[in-house]
């Protein structure tokens, strides 16, 4: 039975696990576009024409544009600081999380549902992005956008994101493709779009949405979150499967269908992965029995390496 997030008392920090944060703290969710600009040596914001305002200082880190070094502060503190402007960052990330009914599934002995796992992922990513002084926004959706938080670059914004994650109720339908199309139209600024979903939806619509985002010059990262039982299908005996999101019922002997089920799933995943590769989007299949920090760290680390070596 799917776990209900309503069973736990609301807690703003529930999806921010200090242990996880501690492990992924220094990782950077850097955008490819940021690295491209750096490597090109243009030292110019690719976002010409934007008005920028001084926002705050932050300590210099490798990769920052030296033109923004605040020499006065350096004279005072003896350390390098850069001036940060409102829209100085190269990265504006939008985190899209699926909140449909299918995400409420959890297999026996799993401590969390897919949605909870995804929420952990969303919150952690938001934290990382904000932590590196980038802006993050969140889109919670099911058959349509249920909540849209504009990108902000503050810790308080992360808390708002977590609160929305708690607040939004699960809906019985999903239409990831339509949401992707909508986001592609809505987001004007080039940035990073992270899709966190089980993608148990019509593949062609999802692929079309990914294509649209790519056309909109968005960089896409896809986290497909799935439960181990959905991936392994280890059921025995006679089982009646009641489909979530109103997809019907099936009384069968799962063992006899296992091979074909897995083959069908494999084709779906392969289609998603191929589309991601075609659109130069990063893709990661995440099992909810996999420690989040391991999955996230591995992904971020490999992504960083890939970006720096491009």
């Amino acid at each position: 039975m799917a776990r209900s997030s309503a069973r736990r008392p609301p807690s703003i920090s529930r999806f921010l696990d200090p242990r996880i944060l501690n492990r992924v703290d220094r990782l950077s969710v850097a955008a490819r576009s940021v690295v491209e600009g750096f490597m090109a040596g243009a030292h110019r914001s690719p976002y010409h024409g934007f008005s920028v305002e001084f926002s705050q200082h932050r300590e210099y880190t490798q990769g920052d544009d030296p033109r923004h070094l605040d020499w006065k502060r350096y004279a005072k503190a003896g350390r390098y600081f850069v001036k940060q402007y409102e829209v100085e960052t190269n990265l504006v990330a939008h985190l899209l999380q699926d909140c449909s009914e299918s995400m409420d599934y959890a297999s026996p002995r799993m401590p969390w549902t897919k949605r909870e796992y995804a929420s952990f992922l969303t919150a952690t990513l938001a934290y990382l992005i904000v932590n590196q002084s980038d802006a993050v926004g969140t889109v919670l959706y099911h058959s349509e956008v249920a909540a849209f938080l504009e990108p902000r670059q503050s810790v308080a914004h992360v808390n708002r994101i977590c609160a929305e994650l708690e607040r939004i109720e699960t809906a019985p339908r999903t239409d990831t493709g339509a949401v992707l199309h909508g986001i592609a139209e809505r987001i004007k600024r080039r940035g990073l779009v992270v899709l966190i979903s089980d993608l148990l939806d019509r593949a062609e619509r999802i692929l079309a949405g990914l294509d649209h985002l790519r056309f909109a010059r968005q960089e896409v990262v896809v986290f497909q979150v799935m439960d181990p039982y959905e991936l392994d299908f280890p059921f025995e005996g006679v089982v009646r499967f009641d489909g979530l999101e109103g997809l019907g019922r099936a009384l069968c002997q799962p063992r006899r269908l296992r091979q074909d089920y897995l083959e069908s799933l494999r084709r779906h995943v392969l289609a998603i992965r191929s589309a991601c590769e075609r659109n130069r989007a990063d893709y990661l299949l995440v099992r909810t029995d996999q420690p989040l920090e391991v999955a996230l760290a591995g992904f971020l680390h490999s992504r960083s390496l890939r970006l720096w070596h491009r």
Binding site: S102, V238, D242, G243, Q259, Y261
Partner: protein
């Protein structure tokens, strides 16, 4: 038809796999599922195939259960269906008693007729695919109508003329053994159901231990396990029987012109007396002729009488004797047959080895023998006294020993080598030889010529003399040796009658003052005829070829003993002579079931030997073989099919051959006693023998209808069970879901 119809309920259990399938579908877990699309796609792709597989497996399981139930219910096919099934519904072994008692007539039919009637009804009702083996048994078991066959019409047709009455005794144990051997060894008798029908008159004696083999009880038990045994009683109770149980000829040394006494024993096996029973004797009378002599006799209940008559044979050679009594219900045992061989001339040769210069007749070594063996005047009282030729020892070589039945060497000093060889040749051909040792006997010469180094006739080595000649006028001071009288020591056939108290007294006064020591040689063919009280042999006998040799330690004169003057002498000497004359030749008089055998000249080797039995007409070939106990000049023939009483002529297939006639009498020693054994006593005596008992007057087939259930086809159903389970296992394994890569 089902042998266990109550097990048919098990067919309903074929629904169990279906119920299990349905019940399992009702017992399931419910799981909410997100990745439903993939599951539905897999289900859509496999639904039809899975349903088909499920139905096939369910059908196989249901069919296996149904077939198992059917197999346990033991279905059978009968009639043409059984024939189509390709298996014999029954294999039948029919054992028909054809012994002498089966000729008993109850006023309507003989027992054998009743048995034929029952067999015909069995054949008429048998499935056409039944293999039938029909054995006729009396003293042995044979298949007179050939090998087992399904041609039941042929068996029915040949039953009357192929299964014939015999005069032999009953050996049911041999019939049972033959049936077991057939059931074991014949592949055409390996049917699902096997039946053995034993048709007999339940005469008591064949079922006793004395007349059956040691393993009879076990064989009966095994027969009951190998097949369904039906014992058909074709006899009936309450019948008495009169039979001729013996025909004795007083003396085998019969000569032309010599009166011969014939003693006929007639026995009444019933409980009512028989009066005025005619007893007819036929001497050389052609079939259908009038009897030579007729007497009547009265018989008490379960008693016997002896009828004697005398005849004189005018010519030498074979003479046929037949005795018949009045008719009763068992005609076969009212007859008896015998062959008498009559000598044309003297049949004994006495050789006087004494001093030829003696002129007194009584001084001859053969004097007392001549008296003891001399024939009496006609009308004088018996005993038998054959005539004898007397020759001095020096003229021995002139005699042709083949002319005599017995040669007696009386105190002969020595024997030439040629004479010894001639004697040996004739002894091996059947002549009897009596050697009476005396004061003139040259032991060393006799040992050398007649002993192992010579012609090997002597039963003992001649040693030294002992004692001294007595002066019968003054016997004081000489202690004689006396003859053994203990009945346990009178074991020789000639001495057996001297166990009788009256005759035993004749041994007492005989005193032997001097004699030769005899050291018997080793061998089963050597016997002690008479011994001293101290156990040492006085007269020894040895079987040599077809003849007999006797060696006496003292002469037949009063020189060394008082034997010739005692009553024993004229009683014993003729008996010794008779035994020597009979020799070791097979008797011409046999009982039904006993094989005929005799010797032929080796010159007949290249010719076949045929036997003409009394019934049926025609001739049969006898087997001819050499024998270690025969001289090289002789062959032995053998013929075993002596089931019928009467005269059998044995004729070598050579022009001018002279037939030898043998007389076969009905085996009445036990067969004439019609005492029956009850079924209860039979079951009690053989508790392990399982059988169904039926009488001849019952409708056997109807009675056995419940036993006849056609061919059982349960093995087929069991085979189907294995087949279905095998398929189910293979398919279940094949269709079992595999691990996903």
């Amino acid at each position: 038809m089902f042998l266990n119809p109550w097990l048919l309920f098990g067919v309903a259990l074929a629904a169990v796999p279906v119920l299990i399938h349905l019940l399992l579908r009702r017992r399931y877990r419910t799981i909410p599922w997100a990745a439903m699309a993939f599951l539905l796609e897999a289900l859509r792709k496999n639904r039809q195939r899975m349903e088909l597989h499920d139905r096939i497996l369910m059908l196989l399981r249901a069919a296996a259960v149904a077939c198992l139930a059917l197999a346990l219910a033991r279905p059978t096919l009968t009639g043409r269906a059984a024939a189509l099934a390709g298996a014999s519904s029954n294999a039948m072994v029919i054992l028909m008693d054809v012994s002498g008692s089966m000729g008993c007539h109850d006023g309507r039919e003989t027992r054998l007729d009743a048995a034929r009637r029952v067999v015909k009804s069995l054949l008429a009702q048998a499935d056409p695919n039944t293999n039938v083996a029909l054995l006729a048994f009396s003293h042995d078991a044979r298949m007179p109508l050939g090998e087992p066959t399904r041609n039941l019409a042929f068996l029915d047709q040949e039953l009357d003329r192929g299964i014939l009455q015999t005069d032999a005794a009953t050996r049911i144990d041999r019939a049972v053994g033959a049936a077991l051997e057939l059931l074991r060894s014949r592949s055409d008798l390996q049917a699902v159901r096997r039946e053995v029908y034993l048709l007999t008159d339940l005469q008591a004696y064949p079922w006793t231990e004395r007349h059956a083999s040691a393993t009879f009880a076990q064989e009966l038990e095994r027969l009951g396990r190998e097949a369904s045994v039906v014992l058909v009683d074709v006899g009936d109770a309450g019948l008495g029987n009169v039979a001729v149980t013996g025909l004795d000829i007083s003396d085998p040394l019969v000569r032309v012109g010599m009166p011969v006494d014939l003693s006929v024993t007639v026995r009444n096996f019933g409980r009512t007396p028989v009066t005025g029973l005619p007893v007819d004797g036929y001497v050389d009378v052609e079939p259908g002729g009038a009897p030579t002599t007729r007497q009547t006799v009265d018989l008490p209940p379960e008693g016997h009488a002896v009828v004697s008559f005398q005849t004189v044979f005018a010519t030498g050679g074979e003479h046929r004797i037949e005795v018949r009594t009045g008719p009763d219900r068992v005609a076969g045992d009212n007859r008896c047959f015998a062959i008498v061989e009559v000598q044309a001339g003297a049949s004994l040769l006495l050789v006087d080895g004494g001093d030829a210069r003696r002129e007194e007749p009584q001084a001859r070594e053969t004097a007392y023998l001549e008296l003891a063996l001399a024939p009496l005047e006609p009308g004088a009282p018996r005993p038998e006294k054959p005539a004898a030729d007397v020759v001095p020892a020096y003229r021995l070589s002139e005699r042709n020993f083949g002319d005599y039945q017995v040669t007696v060497l009386c105190n002969v000093a020595r024997v030439s080598t040629d004479t010894a060889m001639a004697l040996a040749r004739q002894v091996r051909a059947g002549m009897g030889l009596l050697i009476l040792l005396g004061d003139r006997s040259d032991a060393a010469s006799l040992n050398r010529v007649l002993g192992p180094e010579g012609v090997d006739l002597l039963p003992a080595e001649i040693g030294e003399t002992w004692g001294q000649e007595p002066d019968l006028r003054a016997p004081v001071g000489v202690e004689p040796r006396r003859l053994a009288r203990d009945p346990d020591r009178l074991t020789h056939p000639v001495m057996a009658e001297f166990r009788n108290e009256e005759l035993n007294e004749l041994l007492a006064p005989v005193c032997v003052y001097r004699g030769w020591d005899l050291t018997p040689r080793a061998g089963d063919e050597i016997r002690t005829v008479m011994a001293y009280r101290d156990g040492q042999p006085a007269i020894l006998e040895r079987r040599v070829g077809l003849g007999l040799v006797m060696l006496a330690a003292f002469p037949a004169t009063t020189a060394w003993s008082n034997w010739p003057t005692q009553y024993l002498f004229p009683v014993l000497i003729p008996r010794l002579a008779s035994r020597l004359a009979a020799g070791h030749r097979p008797s011409r008089n046999r009982m039904a079931g006993e094989p005929l055998s005799g010797s032929l000249s080796a010159g007949e080797r290249q010719h076949a030997v045929f036997v003409h039995p009394p019934v049926p007409e025609g001739r049969r070939q006898a087997t001819v073989e050499e024998g270690d106990d025969l001289p090289t000049s002789r062959l032995r023939f053998r013929y075993a099919e002596t089931d019928r009483a009467g005269f059998y002529d044995v004729v070598p297939d050579r022009p001018g051959s002279r037939p030898q006639t043998y007389a076969v009498s009905p085996n009445v020693l036990d067969e004439a006693d019609l005492t029956r054994i009850s079924v209860e006593d039979l079951r009690s005596a053989y508790p392990g023998f399982e059988f169904t008992f039926v009488t001849k007057d019952e409708d056997v087939v109807t009675r056995l209808a419940a036993e006849r259930r056609g061919v059982e086809v349960w093995p087929w159903f069991l085979g189907l069970v294995f087949l279905f389970l095998g398929f189910e296992s293979v398919l279940a394994l094949r269709w079992a879901p595999r691990e996903a890569p």
